[in-house]
Symmetry: C2
Subunit: 241 residues, 2 copies
């Protein structure tokens, strides 16, 4: 049974303010919840319509009805279980050879896709400007398909960070070097800007290089690629052996 | 003024059945509507809250209120105008050097993203299995950002088509050739399968080659890449000069 108070608290967790107040976030679906077991994230409790499928016994599990699940799920089609997890203390690791730097990414789906890409390419750290969408946002968590458990994500003052890093700061720009002929440095910060406005001018000033994906289509009206797609295509080149 | 009948007809156009009945589909937002002017698509009429912004005079434009716009728009945040357009007669062009073949793509966002990618890379034709989501679906049209006007999209029996084509049929498969060392044929059909189930067995039988994107992340739990992201990364390699 879910109390009205619990429902209210869980429903509030789609807002950053309340995630920070309670220091909690939600993960939905057994598949992703099981990935939490092998991660640094600690589960507080699980609400499940089918507790037997969850396996582990060291986390309190409450059996709930489908109707109760609907009340606490943020998904259009709720899955089997909802795990309430503790937010981790952020800790930047030392710079890695390839890192992603996000300057004001706003769309939860884009951030989720970028985290999933990072996981695919084995990128261990993503550094975000303070105004980048919160990765504990339930839409981001779901879009990562569990990849958020394997990538260290930190929020910081980018100008400060980019001024000090020894990685080469690389941005994207239609006037930049062609990714197909670009000679990649050993240590890279690939910087991705906001969906509508791109990078902030302060960030742009701290770039050492710019790259671009050549457009083969001839129409001038073709929209530039979505930021996560551009990231995927660029990473595909940077990881080319 | 919009009549109740017009509203009813326009609202029905999110269903394929009614698009086919009326032979009409909707395009929303001045930016994409203006791209229709230079395309093969014919506009029947436009409903706009700000007709002066539309420029052209050879299409009937009805001035509507914000409230009326809300009634006919499929967008969560309706834009300025809605164009009612005629569905084109499908006509397959001759095979191009690089084509995309879609075997049962279901998600409108994925199809839209793939059409936008094709436009970016100058791919002129996409051939879809008959059960691939209809590209006139309003969610697909919006996700293409206007690119559907520059790519020829046809629906056909894939087994029949793939048996006859002279292009090399290439699928994706984790056991396939590494995209970084793959020697690309001159004429390519890149085949992308359904989001959950991949290609149909009948399609798979008609492949001449398989390729894969190597995963650099070490975790076995990492989900495979989303189909449109995989398409982007593969095209990034196929177009490498």
């Amino acid at each position: 049974m879910l109390t009205a108070h619990t429902i209210k608290v869980l429903q509030s967790l789609d807002k950053k303010k309340f995630r920070q107040k309670y220091n909690l976030f939600l993960v939905e679906g057994n598949k992703i919840i099981c990935e939490l077991y092998n991660s640094n994230f600690k589960i507080k409790e699980i609400f499940s319509t089918d507790p037997q499928k969850l396996g582990r016994s060291d986390v309190p599990v409450t059996h709930i009805s489908e109707n109760e699940l609907k009340k606490i799920s943020f998904l259009q089609h709720p899955k089997d279980s909802v795990a309430v997890c503790h937010i981790n203390t952020e800790k930047k690791s030392e710079d890695k050879n390839i890192q992603l730097i996000l300057d004001g990414i706003q769309d939860p789906g884009n951030l989720g896709t970028i985290i999933r890409l990072a996981d695919w390419f084995g990128i261990e750290q993503i550094i975000c400007s303070e105004d980048t969408v919160d990765f504990y946002n339930p839409k981001v968590i779901q879009a990562t398909m569990g990849s958020f458990t394997r990538v260290n994500i930190v929020y910081t003052n980018l100008v400060e960070y980019l001024s000090k890093t020894e990685n080469v700061n690389i941005g994207t720009d239609m006037e930049g070097e062609n990714i197909y002929t670009f000679q990649k440095p050993e240590k890279i910060n690939l910087i991705l800007g906001n969906e509508g406005n791109g990078m902030r001018p302060e960030t742009e000033e701290l770039l050492q290089k710019s790259i671009m994906i050549p457009r083969f289509g001839k129409s001038q009206s073709t929209e530039s690629l979505n930021v996560s797609m551009a990231a995927g295509i660029i990473l595909g080149q940077l990881f080319r052996v």
